[in-house]
């Protein structure tokens, strides 16, 4: 039995749009330290589920627990402040902020964000700013973006934006990182780089839930897989086991390309 509570419990989540039940009773549990993947055919409800967990969409049924706390119906910023940070399928950098500023904003609990401090006591936040800048620059360096630190984020290339998305998420001091197709549209060399970063971060104590189509990566790196189809959990477990599961094979692996073409 695990001593820690599970990091994430999705319990019968339901969400519909008009007549369409995008998520229709999805349940799974993630333990701390997992590098988990959420896979499934297009339209299975994966991104909707991510939005539900992150609070961007409201639940129409079921519950979600994060670190043992019921976060069902919480606003996104409250969920994020607990340490649940998510990224988006399409890179959403803050375009007219510099790369460095993108990371600086992401850091939580900044005293300089308090109005009184901002207007009346700039000294209070000065030390914090210096620390943040140092941390951000180190993170940028790790992700190979140091050279672009003072460029507007919108000027980055597609691959660089992917790296920025991850670097920024890291600055958010996450306990659980929810990545929505981090490898989508990314060339193989960058895929390896991203995979490397993810593994390093995981060793640093961050848990992951990735939505991914790149099954090769999933099989190589993930220690837990949740298969979704038609808004429900179809199966969970190791990728190697799931490959033997006839339901999974017919719903996803059978009629579909095993690996989405990278790049």
């Amino acid at each position: 039995m695990q001593a820690d509570p599970p990091i994430l419990e999705v319990d019968g989540a339901v969400r519909h749009f008009g007549g369409l039940r995008a998520v229709d009773g999805c349940s799974f549990t993630l333990q701390r330290g997992m590098l988990a993947a959420l896979i499934g055919p297009n339209g299975a409800g994966k991104t909707t589920l991510v939005n539900l967990v992150a609070g961007a969409l409201s639940l129409h049924g079921g519950r979600i627990r994060f670190l043992g706390r019921d976060i069902s119906g919480w606003a996104p910023h409250r969920i994020a402040s607990l340490g649940l940070i998510r990224t988006f399928q399409i890179s959403r950098e803050w375009a007219r902020l510099t790369v460095l500023e993108n990371l600086l904003v992401a850091a939580p609990d900044q005293r300089g964000e308090n109005l009184w401090n901002a207007l009346m006591r700039p000294g209070v936040s000065r030390a914090e700013e210096r620390r943040l800048v140092a941390e951000a620059l180190d993170t940028l360096d790790t992700f190979g973006l140091y050279a672009m630190r003072n460029e507007y984020a919108v000027t980055l290339s597609g691959g660089q934006k992917r790296l920025l998305e991850l670097a920024r998420a890291v600055m958010g001091r996450p306990t659980l990182l929810l990545l929505d197709e981090p490898m989508a549209g990314v060339n193989p060399a960058l895929t390896d780089q991203l995979a490397q970063h993810i593994e390093t971060l995981r060793q640093g104590g961050i848990s992951f839930l990735l939505v991914e189509h790149n099954l090769e990566f999933v099989e190589r790196s993930c220690d837990y897989v949740v298969v979704m189809a038609l808004g429900r959990t179809l199966a969970t477990g190791l990728m190697s086991d799931l490959r033997q599961n006839p339901e999974v094979v017919s719903a996803y692996l059978g009629g579909e390309s095993v690996e989405r073409a990278a790049g």
Binding site: A54, A56, A75, P76, H77, R78, A80, S81, I85, R86, F88, R92, W94, A95, R96, L97, T98, L100, E101, N102, L104, V105, A106, P108, Q110, R111, G112, E113, N114, L115, N117, A118, L119, P122, S125, E129, R130, V133, A134, L137, D138, D141, T142, F143, G144, L145, Y146, A147, N150, Y152, S157, G159, Q160, L163, R168, G172, N187, A189, L190, Q193
Partner: protein, 331 residues
């Protein structure tokens, strides 16, 4: 005191006041991306509250009716004007700033403005209806007793001091972490939410501070002119402040200064160069407004960031010891 000096001092007073107004709108829109299409209403509230708190009690027989009449000395009416505008901004913000689309905010602010205009005009006991307030005492002139020309220069100094103080805080806000987060919210609200930022509260703060500036601007205006009525407060005026802020350079407070200089110059000087058209006294202001409207559209189309674009933030870099900058990785 020559007429030229008086003329220049008058224009400079307006210039200073427009700067303050533009900075307030810049904080709302340039920093935080809030679309406030009724900014002028907050200026008007500031003007009215400053007016009724510096005037004495209403005298029967003058035909001018209004509330309060506390006859407070400067700078109290100024501050009360700013606070009243900020309070109204809080109410409007609570109502309108939420996770709905930006056009809803625009529609609601516009509607609020029209409603308040109608209420002020019809509730004559409030601020003397459509006739407006008159005879507002000149701030501090009870103490210094200056003649008209000298007072204008004196008032220029007063306005200038207020302006510098507000400039200082606007810049400080911009370079703070709060200012940075506001700009992130401006760029993408949802992503800011997903990083734990309470975007509703932060946008509300931007709204309220911007309205405070508007109120101060209005209070200074009524102190200068001595009168204020709904006539001086239409969607045209809101649009002019938008034009000042956008043409000058949004997000950039120096841009607002440039914008207000250009528009003031245009407003006061351009009419010199138009030929006098008989029978059409209203053609002049109409043409001027068309020029402003068309000018803004053209600037927005071809130079949307304005003349002076936002400047990149500078950071002094303190780095932990590392082998050197990372090799270029990303492709």
């Amino acid at each position: 005191m020559s007429a030229i000096v008086f003329y220049i001092a008058t224009v400079v007073n307006y210039f200073f006041i427009y700067n303050i107004l533009a900075w307030g709108l810049n904080i709302q829109f340039g920093y935080a991306g809030i679309l406030d299409f009724t900014y002028i209403t907050f200026m008007a509230v500031g003007a009215y509250v400053a007016g009724v708190t510096s005037l004495g009690r209403q005298q029967p027989g003058t035909g001018v009716t209004y509330i309060l009449g506390w006859h407070l000395p400067f700078p109290l009416p100024l501050l009360l004007g700013g606070l009243a505008a900020a309070l109204l901004g809080l109410l409007v913000g609570l109502l309108a700033i939420n996770r709905l689309r930006s056009d809803y905010l625009a529609i609601v602010t516009l509607s609020v403005g029209i409603i308040i205009y109608s209420l002020v005009g019809n509730l004559t006991g409030l601020f003397d209806g459509f006739d407006g307030l008159v005879g507002v005492p000149e701030p501090l002139n009870g103490q210094v007793h200056l003649g008209v020309n000298t007072y204008t220069i004196f008032y220029m100094a007063v306005t200038g001091v207020v302006m510098v103080i507000l400039w200082f805080f606007a810049q400080r806000l911009r370079s703070s972490a709060l200012g940075r987060t506001m700009r992130a919210i401006r760029e993408d609200v949802d992503v800011a939410e997903s990083f734990g930022k309470n975007t509703f509260r932060i946008r509300l703060v931007a709204m309220v501070i911007g309205c405070f500036y508007a109120g101060i601007g209005g209070a200074l205006l009524i102190g200068f002119v001595g009168a204020f009525s709904p006539g001086g407060w239409s969607t045209l005026e809101t649009f002019i402040i938008w034009a000042v802020m956008l043409i000058g350079g949004r997000g950039n407070n120096w841009g607002s200064v440039l914008g207000s200089f250009l528009v003031i110059a245009l407003l006061s000087e351009a009419t010199r160069f138009l030929p006098a058209i008989p029978n059409n006294a209203f053609l002049e202001p109409a043409l001027r407004n068309i020029v402003i409207g068309a000018g803004l559209i053209v600037v927005l189309r071809f130079r949307p960031q304005g003349i002076l674009p936002e400047r990149k933030a500078q950071f002094s870099e303190v780095r932990a010891a590392r082998a050197g900058p990372g090799e270029p990785h990303a492709g």
